[in-house]
Symmetry: C2
Subunit: 209 residues, 2 copies
DNA sequence: TAGATTGTTAATCGATTAACAATC
DNA sequence: TAGATTGTTAATCGATTAACAATC
């Protein structure tokens, strides 16, 4: 029975299921039971079945789950076959690293362009993706209609850049600045990658007390 | 009354408190109540007081909290004044970006060196930090005794690199490879930064259904 | 003193685990 | 058919919120 609103706790586990299932698939494993998967992942079989039940019925009694099928279903739930379009704002070290290394395709995203204000970067390409002048954003967005903006600008301009992009219609932000963004506009989603927060929790855990 | 084992949910909120308090401190704000802070952060005053009570009593009835004092206390709990030492494994785009941009100092870490196998990188420096030959790891670690290794190597060698480092005594890993690491050695902590998982949750949230 | 706000206990809510009938 | 394993309901556990006496 499908749920209306699935809790954030469940959503945050989906990519992990997706990764494990993809791995099993690559290894040529065809079927898996919730208990075997649970063992591998270090969680209970109950949790897996409970999580999946939010979205439908994907298994078969006495058999378990077809790995490829379940992987595809979870991918679908996550929206990886939606071909979301995305742009990068700020081609510093981190923006550049993402352009060069991150498999946007695997997450179902198409990287259309990157933007910067540095004249030495504008007009060049990284991994086949053009770096355009930030000033040309306003003409670019209505034409290409990207869904998501990756924010790899400096902290100082993070909020103002976001505001500008929201005004132009962007509704999803993958935020790498160590700033929490906010807006009064409806349906804008921020996904923060807080490096510092992550390292600090590690610091806590290795601190003797 | 201090708790023995503080739950992970609480720990993961501490860096956020730390950030907000630091911000208030920089803005020159001296005191704050749990309700005002809660409003700013979008959480309840109850939660703040409950969270803090795991570690001690930091406020004063009728007054609230001294911003600078509470910030310092939370920093202490997180271990930022421990001067943890850290090394980077793999100076690709991402390793390089972290060396150049990330404020390790602010998180209480001292970046001692980076390691790579590329002869074009070995012997050079980034932001004043030397890049050394991976082959020299075994002589380096016993001398400098780093606490944490940042893993920015390729997926393919992630687990084997971790195994090697664990053998040499490293007990904390800040893991940027999209692989989940494991070990049978006690007291080893992994903190994963899963870019793909993060982007996939954003994908879910912007997908119409 | 009166008002404000803490730390903590109790109540509520949500998430995880266990149990089991249904069924492949 | 018998064994295995699902999806779901019920029980448990943990986390969040509310309430309030203590007190600055």
């Amino acid at each position: 029975m499908k749920k209306q609103n699935v809790s954030d706790t469940v959503i945050r586990r989906l990519p992990r299921y997706y990764r494990y299932l993809d791995d099993l698939h690559v290894k040529g494993i065809v079927r898996i039971s919730s208990s075997t998967l649970g063992e591998k992942m270090g969680i209970t079989a109950s949790q897996i079945r409970q999580d999946l039940s939010c979205f439908g019925e994907f298994g078969q009694q006495g058999y378990g789950y077809n790995v490829d099928e379940l992987r595809t279903e979870i991918g679908h739930i996550l929206g990886v076959d939606n071909q979301h379009r995305l742009i990068i704002l700020g081609v510093g070290n981190l923006g550049h690293a993402l352009m060069q290394n991150f498999r946007f395709r695997d997450a179902g995203f198409l990287l259309e362009a990157a933007f910067d204000i540095d004249p030495r970067l504008i007009g060049t390409e990284v991994a086949g993706v053009p770096i355009l002048d930030y000033a040309r954003l306003e003409e670019f967005i209505p034409v290409h209609r990207p869904d998501v903006a990756v924010l790899t600008v400096s902290q100082a301009v993070a909020q103002s850049t976001a505001d500008h992009l929201i005004e132009l219609g962007i509704r999803g932000f993958w935020n790498f600045t160590n700033v929490e963004l906010s807006t009064s506009v409806e349906n804008v989603r921020f996904e923060d990658v807080h490096f510092a927060d992550s390292l600090l929790t590690l610091s806590y855990r290795i601190t003797e007390r």
